[in-house]
């Protein structure tokens, strides 16, 4: 019983470690690709550019007429 538990622990630890590595590798790739510079490069062929203007905040004026 104990032997099997130890063996299980070992394999699970190994699996966990490999999954961590895989996570880090993939996460690293995604992070690099999502960097602003990379996105600018990737979207250049689509004609997209970084917005130069500030975003606008809209505020709707309160109107008196409402549907009854």
């Amino acid at each position: 019983m104990a032997d099997r538990a130890i063996r299980n622990i070992n394999t699970t630890t190994k699996q966990l470690k490999e999954l961590q590595f895989e996570y880090k590798t993939i996460k690293g790739e995604v992070m690099f690709k999502s960097e602003e510079n990379q996105i600018i490069k990737a979207t250049e062929p689509l004609g997209l550019k970084v917005a130069k203007e500030l975003p606008q905040r809209l505020q709707v004026e309160k109107t008196t007429t409402t549907s009854k």
Binding site: E22, K24, G28, M31, E36, Q56, Q59, S67
Partner: protein
């Protein structure tokens, strides 16, 4: 026979014999030691087992927003043991069977050698019966995963003889981003946070039993057993924000490329806490590209005009001058202590207020006022600088912070020109970070914070220690002085050297330009190398971030003014940060279209009623039947649900219908629909009431 002679030759004979034997022993010893030595030593090695250190896994450095800035990933060296039994049974059947496909896959994955090359390498090593043959070094985890599924290798270590030796390397997913600050973690060379927090990140090494083979190389007896499990290092959370860092780095890089500048740095501090949100350092490499090659942000240099803030603070705090006092700036040149002070920008003014002199960045004004008020008692001025912490490092948790240099009376380089030149930022060395911290204190209502880079230490996501902001100086000056300083800094951007730069900016900036001529080794100031800087905070009425940009230009650069080189970088950073926090965006008043007041919706009556009920839209049902088409509209009375006659002989009005319904109606009337757009029907090509001809085309526009 003489008995003596008889004895003597026997003695000689014995002596010669002994000498020969001795020589033989020494000779054999030499032969074993020197000629066969290597063979015997390696045999001895291979018979030994020893305990080797196993590196613990180094902790990860996270950014404030939880992104990995630096983490450990494995890297593998692949060895092969061609001596394993299964490779030799059946006359090496297993090896011969797989060698071709394995070579092919290896060549296909690494693309460094052809399959034939790989095959001959394998064959040669097999023939030599190599026990620890290095096949491939430094392969990534990805490649390792693939290799494990290659023919032969997938049979596992004991059958294929493939041995993977794992090493941990540091991965910076963002590559060059804040590279210098995050640092390196090579065995012999650590810099940045990797160095400052090495003891936290490192963890404790484990121990593993290895068998030593020729050359002292340790082969693990079993890859997964440890005598002592290594204890992994802790993670640290840095204050760096990836977005701000990216913005700062890109803005800086763009300008530096444009100006072919030598090096530059941009720092962004959070006003309230002193957190370093971004720290970019770029230096020009030999190939003309820019790299994070040195921590310029914490290296002292002559600050130039950005230092005038300190001079103003001293003068105002000692009540030597008021903002509205007049000062004669003599058209921009002034002789003092046998040298001439020049204003870097040609303004042609002479009598201006103290505030405007600051806004124009007049060196003459600063030098004059300092000489007038402090040449008698220089320590009074120096003490102010001390109080602002300018004579000492900021204490940021980053190794390698350079010590500032502020001369004191009595120093061998102290002279009559020291005070006037110090007043506008020469004759002293402070780092960009120190200057930024001074501006940050002004932005933070006089409270000087200690800039810091690490806000928490974590282990497996559990918080171990949180590092709180630390106040260095509760109040660097009186509130009155503070208000005056703020007015001066805002004035620079409203009617001073940075006016054009910030024209039309929707938020207020307070800042100061700096243009310093810097000495270039033996050539002195002849090379006309300027250091352009801009330090300030924004939005001025509710400061969130302090930012400093310092760029050292190339010799004889065409553009070198602080407002023209460092200023635009500052502005871009400020613009992006400002627009990113939409909370602060200006409110654009837009006249609302009373859309919900003008409406026509049409559809199957039960559907319309259900939608109206769901939306809690009050309505009055005036229709007669349950099973019919209905319209709900704003006129003649809002919420009146009335029946809408739809027959199949003349064209009904389709206005207000959805796509599905209009298709149903039109097609059951025998019309061919050509619809464009989405939403509900806004126009129809066959007018309502017109007779329907079967097979007719109808154009529908949806909006």
């Amino acid at each position: 026979m003489d008995i003596k002679k008889d004895i003597l030759w026997r003695v000689y004979l014995s002596f010669v014999f002994v000498v020969i034997v001795a020589a033989a022993i020494i000779g054999k010893g030499f032969y074993i030691q020197q000629v066969q030595g290597k063979y015997w030593r390696s045999m001895s090695d291979s018979l030994h087992q020893r305990i080797a250190d196993i590196d613990s896994e180094r902790g990860t450095i996270y950014s404030e927003d939880g992104q990995m800035l630096s983490t450990s990933v494995p890297q593998f060296d692949i060895y092969m043991d061609f001596r394993v039994e299964p490779l030799h049974v059946n006359n090496g059947y297993l090896f011969r069977e797989h060698i071709d496909s394995l070579s092919y896959y290896m060549a296909d994955l690494f693309k460094d050698q052809s399959a034939d090359d790989y095959k001959s390498i394998f064959a040669q090593a097999y023939k030599n019966n190599e026990g620890y043959f290095l096949l491939k070094k430094k392969i990534s985890f990805r490649e390792y995963q693939k290799i494990q599924n290659f023919p032969l290798f997938k049979l596992g270590r004991y059958k294929s003889g493939m041995i993977a030796v794992e090493k941990s390397i540091r991965l910076n997913p963002y590559k060059s981003l804040a590279y210098r600050t995050i640092g390196l973690a090579r065995d012999n060379n650590k810099v940045g946070l990797e160095y400052s927090y090495d003891s936290v990140l490192r963890g404790i090494n484990g121990k593993q039993l290895v068998r030593t083979i020729a050359g002292g190389v340790g082969v693990p007896l079993d890859a997964d057993t440890y005598e002592i499990e290594p204890e992994n290092g802790k993670d640290i959370v840095s204050t760096i924000d990836v977005f701000i860092q990216e913005v700062a780095e890109n803005a800086l890089q763009k300008m530096m490329v444009k100006n072919e500048a030598e090096y530059g740095t941009a720092i962004v501090l959070e006003v309230k806490t002193g957190k370093v949100k971004a720290i970019a350092n770029l230096g020009r490499g030999k190939d003309g590209n820019y790299y994070e090659n040195y921590n310029y942000a914490i290296s002292p240099s002559e600050p130039g005009s950005t230092f005038k803030l300190a001079t103003m603070l001293a003068l105002l705090e000692d009540k030597k001058v008021g903002l509205n006092n007049m000062v004669n700036i003599s058209g921009g040149t002034w002789k003092v202590a046998g040298q001439t002070v020049y204003d870097s920008e040609n303004h042609g003014s002479s009598d201006v207020t103290v505030q405007h002199a600051f806004e124009l960045s007049s060196n003459v004004a600063m030098a004059k006022m300092a000489v007038q008020h402090y040449s008698g008692n220089p320590m009074q001025f120096i003490n102010h600088l001390k109080n602002m912490g300018m004579d000492n490092v900021t204490g940021i948790d980053l190794s390698g912070e350079g010590r500032p240099l502020i001369y004191k009376p009595g120093h061998k380089l102290w002279g009559p020109s020291t005070i006037p030149w110090m007043a506008f930022g020469y004759n002293l060395l402070v780092s960009p970070l120190q200057t930024a911290n001074l501006y940050n204190a002004v932005a933070n209502n006089g409270k000087m914070m200690k800039p810091y880079l690490v806000s928490a230490i974590k282990e497996e996501g559990v918080l171990l220690r949180e590092i709180q902001p630390k106040v260095v100086n509760e109040k660097i000056c009186s509130d009155q002085t503070l208000a005056a300083l703020k007015a001066c800094l805002e004035g620079v951007c409203l009617h001073g050297t940075a006016t054009t730069l910030f024209k039309g900016t929707p938020y207020k900036v307070a800042g100061k330009t700096g243009t310093a001529l810097i000495a270039n080794g033996k050539k002195g100031y002849d090379d006309k190398i300027y250091q352009s800087s801009f330090a300030g905070y924004f939005p001025a009425d509710n400061p969130q971030y302090t930012c400093i940009v310092v760029i050292k230009n190339k010799p004889h650069a065409a553009v070198f003014y602080g407002a023209a080189v460092a200023g635009p970088v500052f502005k871009e950073i400020a613009d992006r940060l400002y627009s990113a926090s939409v909370k602060q965006a200006p409110i654009a008043k837009v006249a609302s279209k009373p859309d919900s007041n003008v409406y026509v919706y049409k559809g199957y009556k039960q559907d319309v009623a259900r939608v109206a009920k769901k939306l809690k839209l009050p309505f009055v049902d005036s229709s007669l039947f349950v099973d019919e088409w209905a319209t709900i509209s704003h006129a003649p009375a809002a919420g009146l649900l009335k029946s809408s006659k739809v027959d199949t002989k003349s064209m009904p009005s389709l206005i207000g219908l959805g796509y599905k319904d209009l298709i149903y109606i039109c097609e059951s009337a025998g019309l061919k629909v050509n619809a464009q757009g989405r939403g509900k029907v806004a126009a129809q090509s066959i007018e309502a009431g017109a007779p329907i001809v079967k097979g007719q085309q109808i154009q529908i526009t949806l909006n």
